[in-house]
Amino acid sequence: MPLVIGIVAAVGAYELELGQLNKPGPGLWPFILSVMLVACSLVLFVKDVRKDNYEKFTGKTKLVIYSIVATAVFIVVFKTLGLVAAVVALLLFQLRVVGAESWKISALVTVGMTVAVYLLFSLWLKIPFPGLLSLIERGCFRV
């Protein structure tokens, strides 16, 4: 991975004009960095490709993937429907499915956190949130 980043960055930097040493251009610095990065990555590749250096992915890894997908869904819901819907959905999912808590605890924590988040961010810090529901809340659709 770092190797790919290094090569992309080196090409990108080269296109930016390196300039001269006494008149350093915008690309000189990133170019130096990316060359070093490529070199280091190559050394790492040669030195330890052995598998035992890394932590194995276990059965619990799927919990991580669930959480990543859930977070992505959260962002979409957050943008379209709004803050409260997204928070409730994410918390319920994380507690009940990923955390394997009981329904009772999941519900209690979800309600508590949703209220806390709403009070803190929306009422106290007055952050304008996106989404349909928040617009209705702010009275944008009042007839």
């Binding site: 990108g12 930097a13 040493l21 990555s41 994410l90 924590v109 952050i127």
Partner: protein, 496 residues
Amino acid sequence: MFDQMMLGFQVALTYSNILYCAAGVTLGTAIGVLPGLGPVATISLLLPLTYSIPLESSIILLSGIYYGAMYGGSTTSILVNLPGEAASVVTALDGYQMAKKGRAGVALGIAAIGSFVAGTVAIVGLNLFAPIVSRWAIKFGPPEYVALMVMGLTFITYLSTKSPLRSVISALIGLLLAVIGVDPEYGGARLTFGTDTLLSGLDFAVIAMGLFGVGEVLYCLETSGEAKLITDKISQVFPSRKDLAAAAGPITRGSVLGFLVGLLPGGGAVISSLLSYAVEKRLSKHPEEFGQGAIQGVAGPESANNAAAGSAFIPLLTLGLPSNAVMALMFGALMIHGVTPGPFLIKEVPELFWGVVVSMYIGNVLLLILNLPMIGLFVKLLKVRLSILSACVLVITLIGVYSVNNNVFDMWVLLLFGIVGYLMRKFEFEPGPLVLAFVLGPILETAFRQSLIISNGNPGIFVTRPISLFFLCLAGLLVASQLFARKKKSEQNYEA
């Protein structure tokens, strides 16, 4: 000095700042107690909040979390044999054994007292030395800064991990990420892949929250174990006279050692506690007691990590060089408010420096109260399950990151860096050097380009100026010694 201390008292003793200080140390103790959530993750979570409160208050709050966590971390080490945060790993060795022998209270007590003494020593040091160092550092020009930062980054990568090469890669990626955005001199877009959203660069808070907050949560999902309390009844937290006598030496040595190690880039709390444990074991007349519940093995490291937490502020506030990941976050918080940490900081915003120093004295006293009579309350926190905690942290991080710029794009960046942070932990890359390098990147690049302009394109400028040469030699020596030690080790392995 007297006038300045008075200014500090004026800042630190306002109602709101006392409150921020108390909130910081309480939160710090709490997250120190909770395994899995360390000071780095917590401070990065709170970064968005610093946009909406005054500068002094936010630094008072954040630093309270840092040194508060040093106190709290020992509690979990002693009671559960699971370090609450990385700097308390060695405390578990003897602290847990003490708890098993029914001396949990004494272990907690001595850890709190050692932390208090060392914390105070470090603040006095910060108070006295920081202004002197910054007067000296004003003489630095761009080449000196380049050399200093190169040395700092070298120390950080070599001291902080098992695999220096991985840390170097991590730091280089951080430096490259810092390049994204508008060129500081010519104003052209760089490495933005033609998009407008990346034009203003990546936001420091977003990267930190992704790598440390979300990354940590994801990693914990997979690795978390159950915490088993050895006892939830803590009695007799005040150590006997005999215990105090045994601990006095280690506390004193730990304070001094920790203070010195904290000054080094890459030093910080973790290494100082490991070093102190080694020193105490070597000096002890009964080294066989170590690992069996020796009080010296708790007193020394716990003092050392607190002293280091305090002295780490000196390079940040005088040279503008963050020495570990927490200091990088502080650096970020200062930049958010338009203050560049460096030799001019104490002169330009005296109310910040002196206010924070005075608040640290107050915070330390508060911590002693929190950690001696009230420790039982925090122990109850250990009953909160990690699954609940991590779900809440995830939600707060997501909304927090949105609140920085009211921008949904930042949430995607957060998720991306969360995944990166998770994978880095998986493959044993340290996220610390990346964040540090990201913070230092723009300054390092500007200094580098200015140096080349000064010298008319001759890279020799970095080795012909004495201070700069000195820093580079130090960095070179470190690399050489590490390579040498490694080679020797592999030869030994080969022979065996």
